[in-house]
Symmetry: C4
Subunit: 191 residues, 4 copies
């Protein structure tokens, strides 16, 4: 399997994930302002997940470009990541419709933790592949530390939701911001 | 990231958007002519949005072909545009099922205004990239003026829906016509 | 726009159309054999539409390969065709759930007639493009006659459904058979 | 039709299949732990099917790379396979929601049997194409024996579900394991 094929399939899956989430945004039953306001939490939940998936897509793209060869380990690490990403529409919908309940924030945080872990395992394989290239190993390890940090925060958001869902929401907002801002630099310099 | 990859991902997202809208067309509960007639507004709403998304796809394609390099600014302007486009199935469904209510026409107009704004910001980045090429800057600026005009009309359709939804509908029909007709010429000459 | 891009987008839309139809196959409410048997008409309707869309995809592919340049007329003829194809999941679901009602067979036939008409108009543009190449014009015209014949049959199925839905079903089965069988030869010789 | 086009279309369909399955995972009606636990069977069913479709995708990819030419027989064998694969979201949802009922395990096993049969017929065509290449024929025949074995097990799971659904579940778990483990070696050596 070529890197191109792996990336095209992943892109296809991610494009469907990011788009079908909107099907979970159910139109309010009545066409009044107050009914429309009731879907505001679902809308915010959707917008947040769109941003999260978009960041994952950009990062995934940068990772795949450092692939030397598509080993079985790489292939299945990638499919593992796509599996947890494919659940994002589900946890997004659940959180949007029950945003005050700890369990929905906990599930959202848990799924994003598992996505972060998926990225972590995928990158371990990339580090292995670039064994000779010290600059690349350094680069991967610095991203890996940041990844581990955000994974730990997502994991923390699971029990934290039972203390205060708003504390978990704060984590959900801080992490994309943390990725989004430096990503802008990276993308500028790494084409 | 290459222009090809950016375009392939955008095309994937747009292909899913334009196709999943049909899932919102719910079959009437009874198989009678009068029940079938009840979905006529949803059908018209679907047809209109199909045309709007198709025009956006064609325009997006022409824009991406003038890209020099995929900067972070370009990447995120594009994702911002795709976000608002991804809401089109939602506002289409809402308008089709509540076509007499101001709020549904207002939301439809608001989302299309935000798409037009998304195109505007994306093109600003393209203008920046073609700084040297005066003919290209001129071309972009003439499209930009038209874009600003249709964006302003969509914005106008939001309050107008509370005066008369039919006035907003008129705007929704006039703008695609305005893009569709000259687009035919452009496509003929710009391959 | 290149032929490749047009084909990739069309393929994306067709891949989504052929796949999302399965979402309309709702699992029976009870897990008994008699409940499962109730979805048999929906299943047959799904299988038939899968075959129809697959044949359209193969034919569309052969057509696009004879394209000389992507004119605006070609682009919009293609989008017109995709629009009517995008309604296939809707009419399939409606027919599967109301297979004894004339209106659902009539709508199914009407949509497939409009798809056939869409293919007809798309091919007119191809004939225009191959104005010099008499062998190609001959080839297109022989396909066009067959296309006109099946379009006429689909149009006939609309009023016929009000005489007997089974007569319309016969048309729905005969036409794919008519395309499927000779298609096998064409595909063998035209790679 | 080129091998590339066939693979891109198949990949598109498979990417949509693997992703839309998540739409069947309906959020529990209440945001309590006990309500959330009720979707555990659906979640397991989803995870299993994700793994099955991922394995099919990897195998499909390896098969398509041995294609010499896209004959009609190959094209329609492939579409036959995609048809049965497209039903996986349906049988997955049905099994997840009725996991104690024989009929849902029987339908799941039946569909996977038909997918295995689809792979079998597709490979027969590949064997035909590699008539001269004895090493390739040997390779295909060894895969074919394994394929026939897992197809037979899936067929067995259909009546077995009426003895014990858990016996069928054991088959559903054993077969992916049987493919997944050796697949790792193949992918390592066959790039």
């Amino acid at each position: 399997m070529t890197t191109n094929r792996l990336e095209a399939f992943s892109d296809g899956v991610i494009a469907v994930i990011i788009t079908i989430m909107v099907l979970e945004l159910r139109a309010p039953s009545q066409a009044t302002l107050s009914a429309a306001l009731k879907i505001v939490p679902s809308f915010i939940s959707y917008g947040l997940s769109f941003l999260v998936v978009a960041i994952m897509w950009v990062n995934h793209h940068h990772m795949i470009h450092t692939v030397h060869k598509v080993t079985a380990r790489l292939l299945w690490s990638n499919l593992n990541l796509l599996f947890w990403m494919s659940l994002i529409p589900f946890v997004t919908d659940f959180m949007g419709r029950n945003y005050r309940e700890p369990i929905s924030a906990a599930l959202y945080g848990l799924d994003l933790f598992l996505c972060a872990a998926g990225f972590y395992f995928l990158r371990i394989e990339l580090v292995r592949q670039s064994g000779q290239d010290l600059a690349m190993v350094d680069y991967h390890q610095s991203v890996q530390r940041k990844n581990a940090f955000s994974g730990a925060l997502y994991l923390l958001s699971v029990p934290l939701a039972y203390v205060s869902v708003y504390a978990s929401f704060a984590i959900f907002i801080v992490i994309p911001a943390m990725y989004f801002l430096p990503e802008k630099k990276l993308a500028d310099t790494s084409q």
